[in-house]
């Protein structure tokens, strides 16, 4: 490398010149990544540090006081009687979303991977909710899920009296999960579709010749070959599920009781509604740790469950 640099140095320049080619290349590289680096520093790293700093303080916005309290807010985490319910609701929501979303996305992708006339229209139809405004989508679903709303109206046509979807503890959580699944299933579906189209056809042909039934082909060929995509979508979906907010705020406001109060909604309440910015920051640090641990665990699991052709 050093030889190459010396060879490439223009004639007549001093060898002690500061701007060597390597340095110039480094500078160019840094300049290229500078916008991204500045963005991450300003909008990710500094806020992250600030949130940690705030979590060590009690900040009364109205009284304009900012007092260092050490680990008091972290101690509050242990004493918060609502937190177990909140973490429980978060876990149920995440588990429900991941299971429903990934299963449905994979099912849709397999169905839409057929060579049929008009299949593009169906793909577009299932993907379209992804590009719809989240709040608008949720508001419409809010109307549909009312006691006297559209879904119960349809059920009534078949003689079924539907539940009060957003007011019963069990149906409220199911409703929120379903609204979120329908909103984002298209994204995972497209990723699965791309992965499915990357599976070599010869493998299926060989399996067919060997007399393997379709389900076995799916289990032994399709699933292993799309496992990197399954890992990717599960990480994206779990992280996304832990950050759900607008759906809860619009549909249930955390009720009935605390049954749909998930962690992000709870920290929003603590920080912005109750003005406990310090405790809200502590909750967001906890969320950060949960997301980091889960993502790390999934990443480690790749060695066992993800199949790489290479």
């Amino acid at each position: 490398m050093a030889v190459a640099q010396q060879t490439a140095r223009p004639e007549g320049r001093s060898s002690s010149s500061f701007w060597t080619i390597a340095r110039r290349d480094s500078l160019a590289g840094f300049l290229f990544i500078a916008p991204q680096l500045i963005g991450i520093t300003l909008f990710v790293l500094i806020p992250l540090c600030l949130v940690f700093w705030y979590s060590l303080h009690e900040w009364n916005v109205l009284a304009n006081t900012f007092t260092y309290t050490g680990l008091t807010n972290y101690q509050m985490l242990l004493e918060d009687t609502s937190l177990p319910s909140v973490l429980g609701a978060t876990a149920i929501f995440s588990a429900g979303l991941v299971i429903f979303n990934l299963s449905l996305a994979l099912l849709l992708a397999v169905l839409l991977n057929q060579k049929l006339a008009g299949i593009t229209i169906f793909r577009t139809l299932f993907f379209s909710p992804v590009v719809v405004s989240l709040v608008a989508w949720t508001i419409v679903w809010g109307f549909l899920l009312q006691k006297n709303g559209g879904i119960n109206g349809v059920l009534l046509v078949f003689g079924i009296e539907g539940p009060n979807w957003l007011r019963e503890p069990v149906t409220a959580m199911i409703s929120v999960i379903i609204v979120q699944v329908f909103k984002n299933v298209g994204l995972n579906m497209i990723l699965f579709l791309a992965a499915l189209q990357g599976v070599p056809n010869e493998l299926y042909e060989a399996a067919r010749i060997d007399g393997a039934p379709r389900f076995k082909q799916f289990r032994r060929i399709t699933l292993p070959l799309i496992s990197p995509t399954i890992l990717l979508t599960s990480i994206i979906t779990i992280v996304g599920s832990l950050q759900v907010f607008a759906q809860i705020a619009v549909l249930t406001q955390g009720g009935p009781g605390l049954t749909t109060t998930v962690l992000v909604y709870y920290l929003y309440q603590q920080a912005f509604q109750f003005h406990f910015f310090g405790y809200g920051s502590t909750l967001s640090i906890m969320l950060f740790v949960i997301v980091a641990v889960l993502t790390f665990a999934q990443w480690q699991m790749r060695k066992r469950i993800v199949f790489y052709e290479s």
Binding site: L62, A63, F143, Q146, P256, Q273, H275
Partner: protein
């Protein structure tokens, strides 16, 4: 020679330009831009506020006032977020429920001295009861510019079609009680239309139920705000009555049911009189406005308030206080009262209110507005209200079920909010 001429010209130009530039800089330094957050985006409201700001500018040419409409549902949250972000407005409307938080925290600039020093302001005519929630240690921290009573709007067409008695008929017969009101609502409810709606309650904003439970003499906490009183008999009775009205008599829309009175789909609604502007103009129905029915504890009234305060965190608190004094002087209070009933005694008479509320009859103004403001209690509020509101909302979810055990649910609520009230 040329050099000297050029130098002279340059010096002359500087002599003219420097004072001009200096005066420009001085003017720029004097310019004051005041910002006020409000929760209305109503065109008529904004026009009136704009006119008041223009009037203030005549006497204070360097002061410009702009209004920033924030969404009603998240108003206080948005306001405190602005304060946290170092972008506090100079002035803000404040909900009656959040009044204690703002007044007790020291977030507001005291207004008493500025109001007293304003010529012709006549601060004494502000009713002391209206100012109670906005006063601390004898100083007024926000001016309660809107003191609006809750009343019952009635759709006489629907009620007559169902064969029930109208509230006006019941009032004339001395029968305007909660039992009879719910009986009428239930009769209309059986026709497939909505009965009685407590507007904006929606099984979330429970403090609006004070418009019902005050008739039982119930309150969520003691007068000093230290003790939860939701387990006491008046509250248990009142909530049992509301529960029966919803689940047994089908007189009120249940949780998760949306019915709009102003679209002509319900018999009655409890709301503030300012909502008269929502009455339909295209397909009008025969409507009436009556006082709240008599409860077991007798006649009563409820008022909602809005205060306008100056933020200590703002950069121009003194000028902002002067603007609040101008905005709420007798002349501008009279203009504001067409939308926001004033707490000034001189404006609480039928003549003034009739001019500013042309939709209301003399009788409605007398019986509902004037009487309501004079005798009404303000909607419940408390320091740390948002947290208490959330705890009670969450606890009351157990009440809004057909098989609810109301005393147990209320006991649990008191267990939750008891420590919060004592803080």
């Amino acid at each position: 020679m040329n050099y000297h001429r050029t130098l002279k010209s340059a010096v002359a130009a500087l002599a003219v330009a420097v004072p001009l530039c200096w005066s420009g800089i001085a003017n720029a330094q004097d310019a004051v831009n005041l910002r006020m957050t409000i929760w209305s985006a109503n065109e008529a409201h904004l026009k009136l506020f704009g006119d008041i700001a223009a009037g203030f500018k005549k006497d204070h040419p360097n002061v410009t006032v702009t209004y920033e409409s924030l969404p009603f549902d998240t108003y206080t949250t948005a306001l405190t977020t602005q304060i946290a972000g170092g972008n506090a407005p100079d002035m803000a409307w404040i909900f009656e429920t959040a009044a204690y938080d703002f007044v007790n925290s020291g977030a507001l600039y005291p207004l008493t001295d500025t109001l007293k020093a304003t010529k012709g302001y006549n601060a004494e005519e502000l009713s002391a009861t209206a100012a109670e929630r906005w006063t601390k240690d004898g100083k007024l921290f926000a001016y309660p510019f809107s003191t609006s009573p809750f009343a019952m709007f009635v759709n006489n067409d629907l009620i007559k079609a169902s064969g029930a008695k109208t509230p006006a008929e019941m009032i004339a017969a001395g029968q305007w009680t909660w039992d009879n009101a719910i009986a009428t609502a239930s009769t209309v409810g059986k026709t497939g239309k909505g009965g009685l709606i407590v507007r904006d309650f929606n099984y979330q904003i429970w403090q609006n139920l004070a418009s019902v439970w005050n008739g039982w003499g119930a309150s969520p906490w003691s007068a000093d705000g230290k003790t939860c009183t939701m387990t006491e008999k008046p509250m248990v009775d009142a909530l049992t009555f509301i529960h029966d009205a919803v689940f047994k008599n089908k007189a009120m829309p249940g949780p998760g049911e949306s019915v709009d009175f102003f679209a002509g789909n319900a018999a009655m609604t409890i709301t503030q009189i300012s909502r008269a502007s929502l009455l339909p103009k295209d397909k009008p129905f025969a409507w009436d406005l009556v006082p709240l029915p008599k409860g077991p504890a007798g006649n009563y009234a409820l008022i909602g308030q809005a205060g306008v305060g100056v933020m200590q965190a703002g950069r121009h608190a003194k000028t902002a206080a002067e603007f609040v004094a101008y905005m709420t002087n007798p002349e501008n209070s009279a203009k504001l009262s067409q939308f926001f009933p004033s707490a000034r005694k001189s404006l609480l008479n039928a003549e003034v209110l009739k001019k500013t509320n042309p939709l209301l009859s003399q009788e409605q103004i007398d019986k509902v507005v004037i009487s309501g403001i004079a005798t009404g209690k303000v909607i419940p509020g408390h320091t740390g209200f948002a947290q208490i509101q959330q705890a009670v909302r969450s606890g009351l979810d157990a009440v809004w079920r057909p098989d609810a055990n109301i005393p147990t649910a209320l006991q649990q609520i008191c267990g939750q909010i008891g420590p919060l009230l004592k803080r």
